[in-house]
Symmetry: C2
Subunit: 539 residues, 2 copies
């Protein structure tokens, strides 16, 4: 061992998993950083070249017909088995993720629970069955001038899905995360490109899913996890003829590159890229006057959570200028100044954050309100970041589009507006967002109801009197939103609706009952809620 490296957990060997087999990459190595402790981690990981990644895609396609034809119950069991296996290795996975990401252990333990919870939620959703979208319109044999045929509809999976794992949720949005869970639930085999910020965690989880696939009796090609260079081999995966859809969480540049690659294929495919957001928070006057200091402190709690590395991190706060906003700012400034520096996920993310903060601080339209202390001497400066807060006016904010861009990390811009009207103008000027938050009390109802329709057009989730960090995995969740928050606002990547991204409808006209899929057979053997002749029924 060289100085500065860490011992590794025994289960981490440097492997990828391709259709049931542990495989070592045949291309270049990549370094595995230990952001909190400094140095790099063992063992050595290698990337896969084109041929290996192509093999994973081909084996996914080879498994697809059997996977989609398997009973729904078997698919639900696969998800539950995966949850069980992940639970078994959850402690080791969280420990390894802690080394690889620098995120606090309790947060990572929570992520294990979220990961298993969402797999089980999709299993329940599969059994409930409405995802089939079953519809039946019976024939009208006596219609003139011609008989109306019998028409039935259900949804089928698109085909193998390439999932590009996120850096910032090493469990819940990575190898077994929301994209993988929803694609498998839909009946789509998955090829994950594991994120290089946490390859050991990825290996542990990939091994767990591989065991679950084997135990489920489904073909091994249903799941693979590879490491690959994103701009070259990753893009090749998106362009592989066997791949039918893509899930991605990451930067806007990388997401748009995958969208472009998918669109330029001979057969274009959908890409669900969750890219960037600044998640504006609107402080309405009534609520601000009531609780300015508390809100300021709570805001910084959300801002600095996970070193600000949440997709839903509050990067813009908008409030009407005056003594109440000053109190909010004073409390936020104190909290930022008191906040400790924290390790960021990678040295690259930390460097990008430092650049972003420097850009905000040097911007002619901003005033620096607070900077947390610099990282301690002796800590690994390459990966640590500290919170930052700047202020600007509505006028400046509306003129300076670069102040609207995400700085990934614990930096936020407070926009002082002169009036409620200007607050709405600022909302209207926003790009698409994952979330928009309103702090309001009963006395703010008139302004809130004017603001709400504006926010509906800007965000996938609107929340009142809370903070956007933290996304509940429930059927009604929307983690999505208008461009550039995502590449496809019609969907969500969290919650059970996420399955629908990987399904498409097929109609069956006068197909004999014995040949019909069970979802649309006359006897309704699966007991589904179906739209029959215009009415929803379980008959």
């Amino acid at each position: 061992m060289t100085p500065g490296t860490q011992t590794v957990l025994p289960v981490v060997t440097g492997a990828m998993y391709i259709a049931g087999d542990a495989v070592f990459g045949d291309a270049e190595t990549f370094p595995v950083e230990a952001p909190a402790a400094g140095g790099t981690l063992e063992p050595t990981f290698h990337r896969a070249g084109s041929a290996l990644v192509g093999r994973a895609a081909e084996l996914a396609e080879a498994a697809f017909e059997a996977f989609r034809a398997a009973p729904t119950e078997q698919r639900a069991r696969l998800l539950e088995l995966a949850a069980d296996e992940i639970e078994t290795v959850g402690g080791a996975a969280a420990d390894r993720a802690h080394l690889e990401t620098g995120l606090p252990l309790p947060r990572l333990t929570g992520e294990v629970a979220r990961t298993t919870g969402q797999l089980r939620l999709f299993a329940a959703t599969l059994r409930e069955g409405t995802w089939n979208g079953a519809r039946i319109d019976h024939a009208l044999p006596d219609r003139v001038p011609a008989r109306r045929p019998d028409v039935r509809q259900r949804r089928i999976p698109l085909g193998p899905v390439a999932v590009f794992a996120a850096s910032n949720f090493p469990l819940a949005f990575s190898v077994a995360g929301g994209d993988t869970a929803s694609a498998l639930a839909a009946g789509c085999p998955v090829v994950v490109k594991g994120h290089e910020a946490h390859p050991g965690t990825s290996e542990i989880i990939a091994a767990a899913i591989t065991r679950a696939v084997a135990a489920s009796g489904l073909p091994a090609g249903v799941f693979s996890m590879v490491f690959a260079d994103g701009p070259t081999v990753g893009v090749e995966l998106v362009r592989h003829p066997a791949i039918a859809a893509v899930g991605f969480t990451g930067s806007r540049a990388a997401g748009l590159a995958l969208v472009a690659a998918a669109a330029s294929r001979p057969v274009p495919i959908p890409v669900y890229a969750e890219m960037s957001a600044v998640n504006p928070v609107f402080l309405l006057p009534g609520r601000l006057s009531e609780a300015a200091s508390d809100l300021g402190a709570a805001f910084v709690g959300s801002l600095t959570l996970g070193a600000g590395q949440f997709c839903t991190n509050p990067g813009i706060v908008v409030g009407v200028d005056g003594p109440d906003l000053d109190r909010f700012i004073a409390a936020a400034r104190d909290a930022v100044t008191a906040s400790a520096p924290a390790p960021m996920l990678t040295s690259r993310i930390a460097a990008s954050y430092a650049n972003g903060v420097a850009r905000l601080a040097a911007h002619p339209a901003t005033e620096v309100l607070a900077r947390a202390a610099d990282p301690e001497p002796g800590s690994w400066p390459g990966c640590w970041g500290s919170a930052a807060l700047v202020a600007t006016t509505a006028e400046e904010f509306l003129a300076a589009r670069d102040l609207h861009d995400e700085v990934f990390g614990a930096a936020s811009v407070i926009v002082r507006v002169a009036s409620s009207d200007e607050l709405i103008d600022v909302a209207r000027a926003m790009e698409g967002q994952l979330t928009a938050t309103v702090h309001a009390t009963d006395g703010d109802a008139a302004l809130a109801s004017s603001l709400l329709p504006v926010l509906e057009r800007k965000a996938g989730r609107i929340l009142f009197n809370g903070w956007p960090t933290g996304v509940e995995v429930v059927p009604s969740m929307v983690h999505g939103g208008p461009f550039p928050a995502t590449s496809d606002s019609r969907t969500t990547s969290v919650g059970t609706l996420a399955m629908e991204r990987f399904l498409r409808p097929v109609a069956y006209q006068d197909v004999p009952d014995a040949l019909l899929p069970t979802a649309v057979r006359e006897s309704n053997p699966d007991g589904l809620l179906r739209l029959v002749d215009g009415s929803y029924t379980k008959n």
Copy 2:
């Protein structure tokens, strides 16, 4: 009047409609052909320039907030009023369409009924309400470590929709067609680019919708209909910042141009383009042996319907070689030979069809089976087309990709396969299709059940023992399919699911009940079927 022109119906003046106003185009004129009778039709129509078309888009955006905020009942009434108004002018519209398209009058009268029927079906769907996608997950106040918030979801409209009308359905897929009806139902204002093959029909229908909008009390900007040069001003409409989605029916080249324009916008938008299909028909041996001659004659009936100008026209027939297929071919050949030439929609479509037939006939891999008689001397040769039938082998078909391309019109390729396995190989080699048809009897069940999963991956609609022309407007219909049949296989352009193309989900977290949209209020004032805490209920 110059010789060869026709008198026009009094209601046709050459106008477009922009947000309630009859407006005359400010750009170049375009000729209006009379395909059946020959010559051109009056009055003179002008295209709109960029500014006029941009004004329609801006007025659509200006109307959007009021439109989407209006009660669902008011939106349903708009659709019913439009149906009523179209019924009133239906006779005149069908007469004018007959002059402009050469399609038979009974077919056009049927289209009026389909147009009004689908508007009323969407009104009923709006009132039924499940389109809201309402979901509620109540808070768990006592959850540890933190309270789970209350989360609710509903769908909202995307924004103004640009609709590019089809040439081949001058009523049911044009100004008030499926795209317009589904976008208005979703709460999206519509700007239609009317098709230049039937501008008078478009004017009559646009005037009817304009009257319906006025009677509904909704803002006039909810509907506009313009004529514009597709490759220039049409593309500008797609790129207009006010436009949020696009519906299109037409050629692959034009559709792909709109997809590319939409993708290259600063804010990309979805395009639902229905482009091209050859709609393969598979003749299974049992059924073929039973009814070869009847099938051959019925096939040609579907092939020549509307001069073959259906999106779902059967352009490929696949059967196992032998005496039964020979009988099918003999009957089809007789029917094609006996078929009368028919006017096509435009001279450009007729020329393209003639080129396509010449290409098929001269192809080294084909044998010409039958050509209908050439158009009568004295008819307008520029617009008339006659049916054509060629044959090839599976081997040739699999090698010659150009035989897979659509020839828009009454031309079809019969593919002789050597075995059932080869029949499935041919199915696997197909591109994406709107439809796939199987002719089978009980004795064909084994082959049919092997073929069915292959066809599910190729087509939006699978039909047994019928012909693909004719698309029922029922909730379970899918008129869509994998690329290149459409640009987005996850949807349909016919049937009530078409509305979902223009909606996206929004989540509301801890939003006070009084501020929530009615679809997700606790009391369920609209009586919707909602997914509440994991179960569907109307409570």
